[in-house]
């Protein structure tokens, strides 16, 4: 992938997971970070994503009550039908 020289916020949101996982090409990392320098909104979004990943990463399957697991799975199944 080679992102546009100037990313829009919407484009950054699309690649933020790849950015956090180190899956972007160096040239695209540069474009993301160049955007983050001046975009407070995307910087906040990145921080929220980092916090979410850190919190979710500590969860184990057995931490989720069975009834909540069922509700989540049901939601995901419905989601795929949209």
């Amino acid at each position: 992938m080679r992102l546009d020289r100037e990313l829009t916020c919407a484009q950054l949101v699309e690649v933020i997971t790849d950015y956090l996982e180190g899956a972007l090409a160096p040239v695209d990392v540069e474009r993301v970070e160049e955007h983050l320098v001046f975009c407070d909104g995307c910087t906040t979004y990145l921080e929220q994503m980092r916090a979410t990943v850190a919190m979710a990463g500590r969860l184990r399957a057995e931490d989720i009550p069975p009834e909540l697991q069922e509700r989540l799975l049901g939601t995901f199944r419905e989601w795929r039908r949209l």
Binding site: L24, P26, E30, V37
Partner: protein, 170 residues
């Protein structure tokens, strides 16, 4: 033996790298196993790169080893902060934003659509969003003259900074 390469780093308050959150020591060499742009190594700015990476603190950094030039940065396996560029502070950042405002108003103040950037830059200056003011000035230039005009405006900004901060060309 190659001469040391002097470059620059914008850091957050307390010498903290904005993306990795690494707190830089002052004066001590920092080494990495390899220099790979955006992945590993000591990343720094040439003078022409400065407007893209504006931050709270500006430091001069000495690079050692094979220095790789990338689009808007250089990367090396070793580096150390040699001095803080004290002249880069909130007051000068505001002067920079003011200069952007004057320049953009002069070029596009009476041009339909593009004149809107003048108000944007004034607002960004008023709210201390100086990096965004620099980007807006370059975007106005780009809309008027294409991608090359964007780069030319960024280079003009770099020259302003180098002049006011008395930075050498490296």
């Amino acid at each position: 033996m190659a001469a040391p390469v002097i470059a620059y780093k914008f850091l957050d308050e307390g010498r903290v790298a904005p993306f990795t959150r690494y707190r830089w020591p002052e004066g001590e060499w920092v080494e990495t196993p390899a220099a790979v742009p955006c992945e590993a190594g000591i990343h720094a700015c040439r003078v022409a790169d400065l407007p893209f990476w504006l931050g709270r603190e500006l430091w001069e950094v000495e690079l050692d080893g094979d220095v790789i030039a990338f689009e808007r940065k250089v990367v090396a396996p070793r580096g150390r902060l040699t001095r803080r560029v004290e002249e880069w502070n909130r007051s000068l950042a505001d002067e920079f934003a003011a200069a952007l405002l004057v320049h953009t108003r002069r070029r596009f103040g009476s041009v339909p659509v593009l004149s809107g950037f003048v108000g944007d830059i004034a607002q960004f200056r008023a709210t201390n969003r100086v990096p965004l003011a620099g980007f807006a000035a370059a975007r106005a230039a780009e809309l008027a003259g294409g991608p090359r005009a964007y780069e030319e405006e960024r280079l003009r900004q770099a020259h302003w900074l180098a002049d006011r901060l008395a930075l050498g060309e490296h």
